[in-house]
Subunit: 330 residues, 2 copies
Amino acid sequence: MPTISDVARITGLSKSTVSRVINNHPYISSQKREKVLKAMEEIGYYPNPSARRLRGHTSNTIGVIVPRIVNPFFSYLVNSIEQEAFKNNYQVIIFQSNDLKDKELYFLNLLKNRQVDGIIMTSIENDWETIEPYMQYGPVLLCNEYVNQSSVSKVRLDQKKGAYMGTEHLINKGHQKIAYCTGGLFAGYGRDFDRNTGYQKAMDKHQLTPNPNWIFIQRHSIEDGKKVVKEILSMNDKPTAIFSGSDEVAAGIIIEAKENGLKIPDDLAVIGFDDQPLAEIVDPKLTTIKQPIDEMGIKSVELLIQMMNSKDSMVEEVQLPIQLIEREST
Amino acid sequence: MPTISDVARITGLSKSTVSRVINNHPYISSQKREKVLKAMEEIGYYPNPSARRLRGHTSNTIGVIVPRIVNPFFSYLVNSIEQEAFKNNYQVIIFQSNDLKDKELYFLNLLKNRQVDGIIMTSIENDWETIEPYMQYGPVLLCNEYVNQSSVSKVRLDQKKGAYMGTEHLINKGHQKIAYCTGGLFAGYGRDFDRNTGYQKAMDKHQLTPNPNWIFIQRHSIEDGKKVVKEILSMNDKPTAIFSGSDEVAAGIIIEAKENGLKIPDDLAVIGFDDQPLAEIVDPKLTTIKQPIDEMGIKSVELLIQMMNSKDSMVEEVQLPIQLIEREST
DNA sequence: TTGTAGGCGTTATCAC
DNA sequence: GTGATAACGCCTACAA
């Protein structure tokens, strides 16, 4: 593997000059610049990232924390991030927190060693007070999940509006008994809180009061969705529609409802969130709230790179549009 | 961020001694070892990976090349790899080749800079002659995709048997006109070749000859599956069953077949490959060949770590079992 | 069993 | 404009 010294030797110049060319410094005769460039090309020289990192430069590596990559929402997000990063000459290290506080912290630690230049967090496990101190070691960007803190950059959606739209869509279809199913707990802030608020706002506006039994929390998987149906079937007062915070849970609901002879959307209308590929696979096809995943990834990388390059810490917040996709399940 | 010098200063020992403790060298008085360990703990010392890398040591990083992470097969594989790597204190850099030769080569290049200690390739784009030279820079392991080369380690399945089982299953159900749908071209070796061979072998054994029109190549997505159905519908001599090399294509086939009024499995039996989650979502549920993805990932990491630790290059081949999951589509 | 010194490849600083 | 040199943090001959 050729080094900067090799280039220097071949061109008869000093390492400093070569380094300057590499880093696009001014004050170099274009004649020598050409010479260096040519030599680099010839011997296939490529700067050693470890050395750069050690010397205090950037590592051209960004870390992405996801709860789990097998969730299509996150694999699509990672896809978009990786593509955009590659375009900008960055590599992506992927971390799965598995909803574990410790693992999340461990990953955040890599910022200290400059293992990564910056981190995109797509989920948050620890309290913000725990996470915030890590920001002094390098830029941290929140994508998808967020907190109500003005000190951190975010790329996010209007979750409140999304849930509002979905709920109102069901109301417009004539439903009054609308169940609500979320992945989170009833947190006091962030993504899930905003969704909850959106649902409530829509219900309130139409003077509807949900039966507390119709509120399901911490549901994530297809299996969870199936269980929701079982619970509903055992109720005296059953909902006629259900808003689910994830397409996967919604898919589970549809599958199990059909098994039990329920007609969708007649007996039970279902609306999901994400617009994952399975929304078109499930039968009937799923009405859902589409999140602009690709744009989120692209914007996140763009912003993070800006943050890494700006000397003083900058904070920016980007909000992307959200959209209702009506299919057959409502 | 504390360095080895800090630990040395605090303990009153030299950097060498500290380094020896870190690297578990023999010939250290257990008394001093304790002292060092304690100091490291206290100040939260963690070796700087860049420095280690530069000095010629390992980076505790492995690279994984996948064609695309949004394909559930690969996201599950990456999940398993990341989990196992984390257990062993390794980080995972993820690369998407997007079926591009250049991108694949670019990633392989990182082996030279010791950006990664080893690479797991889950797909192969370039000719083997092009890839082989990179193996001198570090261990490369083939997982899932493979070539008929004894000089490289592999973790793979008996693809031939898988395709054979699937095809014979259809034959046993009374089908004679069996279409075949693969993601690859008709390569002369490797995974897809073995699958093709398995299909042919099963057909031959039962003295069946497929209509050449029933052979579909380079089909990957749900959309591709839908197109296959359209093509079939326009044929005079139609197959009654179809073996698909991927669950996604199979799902597309089922969806489009239903749209066109075909009953599954009566009018068209469908069998997939992978056992992805969608196999249980699609209606009717998909019969498929299950690949032990988790074991593949675990075994790959295990093996790669062994390879990275062994001084002389070792080559090993692991073959994992494969299994038919019968559901409703056949 | 422990310490000293040098170098991995790069870039920033200071000279010229 | 260009070059020598030190330093980033770590590990390993070599010496003691």
